[in-house]
């Protein structure tokens, strides 16, 4: 909202001008949302990312605190903060080394499929989301979970709008298969291993080859 961004810009300017409490106030306004984005982005198959998400948010916000003077005002302050946090999370995911994972015991009751075998309980959706390639997951977290406009998500991720649309659509397609909403669908391409930055999803669709290297 315009009023929120005006408020955020004022706080950031006050911080740069020397107000000792302004950045803390700004953080307080966005903290929970940023944590949710970090957690959903970092969650991988069988991993508990809560502590890592807290670490990522802390590191990212400290970086933003120190670099506040570089903010030029081209994007909303919220977009800028999300960009810092999402970049930190993507860096962490890509640095992870492949290691055996043990699925965590579910805190919620086991899912119950409906008559069509579809399952949308929260634990199943979270697990399916965590199994997506990280770039698709990050796009869906911003657009479908956070409610961000595609254009703003593109600014956060630093990619064209078409790339965000493609990543979201591909992610939803995979989720539709995982959650049983899509039967007899063509097989999705294999998910690249964690930490693989050369996965088929990372390239810009506008430069991808017809074989699907997007």
């Amino acid at each position: 909202m315009i009023a929120d961004d005006t408020r955020d810009r004022a706080l950031l300017a006050a911080h740069v001008a020397g107000d000792r409490d302004a950045f803390g106030t700004l953080v307080g306004l966005h903290r929970d949302r940023l944590y949710a984005v970090a957690l959903r982005t970092l969650a991988g198959p069988g991993s508990d990312a809560r502590e890592e998400a807290a670490d990522a948010v802390q590191d990212a916000l400290l970086s933003a605190y120190r670099r506040a003077g570089t903010y030029r005002g081209d994007a909303q302050v919220s977009t800028w903060l999300h960009r810092v946090v999402v970049n930190a999370c993507l860096d962490r995911v890509r640095r992870r080394t492949a290691r055996p994972t043990v699925p965590l015991p579910d805190a919620e009751p086991a899912s119950t499929d409906d008559a069509y075998g579809r399952s949308d309980t929260a634990v199943d959706v979270r697990a399916a989301l965590a199994a997506l390639p990280v770039d698709q997951r990050a796009a869906l977290v911003l657009v479908d979970l956070t409610g961000m406009a595609v254009e703003e998500a593109a600014a956060v991720l630093g990619v064209p709008v078409g790339t965000v649309k493609s990543r979201c659509s591909r992610g939803r397609a995979r989720l539709a298969v995982s959650l049983g909403h899509l039967r007899n669908a063509p097989a999705p391409p294999p998910v690249p291993p964690v930490g693989d930055t050369a996965g088929p999803d990372t390239a810009d669709p506008h430069h991808g080859d017809p074989g699907g290297g997007r």
Binding site: N87, S166, A176, A185, P186, P189, P205
Partner: protein, 323 residues
């Protein structure tokens, strides 16, 4: 292209990102066309499932943890050293550097010790005539000097109290963390209300000079301990009057909520010593908190508005604990 379109290609076609070859194939393949229709119908339930996913539970200590981290950042990096555009000159752009607004932690510039004033960004200012950065630099330099002064004063066994009121006793160079014998509350010149037996004083001293904090530290830690028990604490609404701006911080619950998390070593906000004083003319609470570094303490000066989630820290520093 051989064969039919795969799932990713169907997904791209759905949002208009498919290529011409796939579009032509679709026109002539009933199976793929039907698959695209199925995929389109599956989009809405998936979006709904994602949108209705419960928000994750935010860790209870995340707010305090972030506040503590920012507090340490303020100690380590005064505002005058906030990065400004141009400091990254000479560093080649990295792949993926989308715009000047990109602030990836991996792109952080090395610290610059020059401490010169940053160029203001093109944003709306909160107010005109804010605190000048030069004064902040001066305060930061004073704090650094105060640490050195404090260390020298403590090591020489010289302690100067700036406390007022009857019954003042100069602290000796004995261990600051030793349990002093508690005097009666009447022997102390100010309000003492903590049930936790924390050394508490009400010096009303103005600690605008950070050097005074370093000098007063041993005295704060050696102050008489508050006597517990007695009449139950009044409610915050009863206490908080214009006559006592620090009333909220005299209540143990209000005070602990304010101080919680300001030092990672004191997540519950229990202080080693307290002094109800002033800072730059405004009522303030000086709290000595344990530090995560052995042999040191955190000194935090908070304003009357300090409360959970809004620490209102006026000044903070870390000093060696007196022997």
């Amino acid at each position: 292209m051989s064969g039919h379109v795969d799932l990713d290609a169907l997904a791209d076609l759905l949002v208009g990102e498919g290529d011409e070859t796939q579009v032509r194939h679709l026109a002539g393949c009933a199976g793929c066309s039907s698959a695209l229709d199925d995929l389109e119908r599956a989009q809405e339930p998936v979006r709904l499932a994602l949108a209705t996913l419960p928000a994750p539970q935010v860790p209870g200590d995340l707010a305090a943890r972030l506040d503590a981290a920012l507090l340490r950042a303020r100690d380590d990096l005064p505002h005058a050293r906030v990065d400004r555009p141009g400091r990254r000159e000479g560093r080649p752009p990295r792949p993926g550097d989308a715009s000047p607004d990109d602030a990836s932690p991996d792109d952080a510039s090395p610290d610059d010790a020059s401490g010169h004033r940053p160029t203001p960004p093109t944003v709306l200012p909160l107010r005109r005539g804010g605190r000048p950065a030069a004064a902040l630099v001066a305060a930061a330099l004073l704090a650094v000097a105060a640490v050195a002064v404090g260390v020298l004063a403590v090591s020489a066994g010289v302690v100067a109290l700036t406390r007022r009121g009857p019954g003042d006793t100069a602290a000796t160079s004995s261990s600051a963390l030793a349990r002093a014998s508690p005097p009666t509350a009447a022997a102390q010149g100010g309000a003492t209300d903590s049930a936790a037996g924390v050394p508490t004083s009400s010096s009303n001293t103005d600690f605008a000079d950070p050097g005074a904090l370093a000098v007063a530290l041993p005295g704060l830690l050696g102050a008489p301990r508050a006597v517990g028990g007695g009449a139950p604490a009044p409610t915050l609404q009863q206490q908080e009057t214009a006559a006592d701006p620090l009333a909220r911080l005299r209540d143990p619950v209000g005070r602990a909520g304010c101080l919680a998390g300001l030092s990672p070593a004191a997540p519950d906000g229990i202080a080693l010593a307290l002094d109800y004083a002033r800072y730059a003319g405004a009522p303030a609470l000086v709290a000595v908190l344990p530090a995560t570094v052995a042999g040191q303490v955190e000194i935090v000066v908070v304003g009357a508005a300090c409360r959970p989630g809004a620490p209102a820290v006026l000044f903070s520093t870390r000093l060696p604990a007196p022997p």
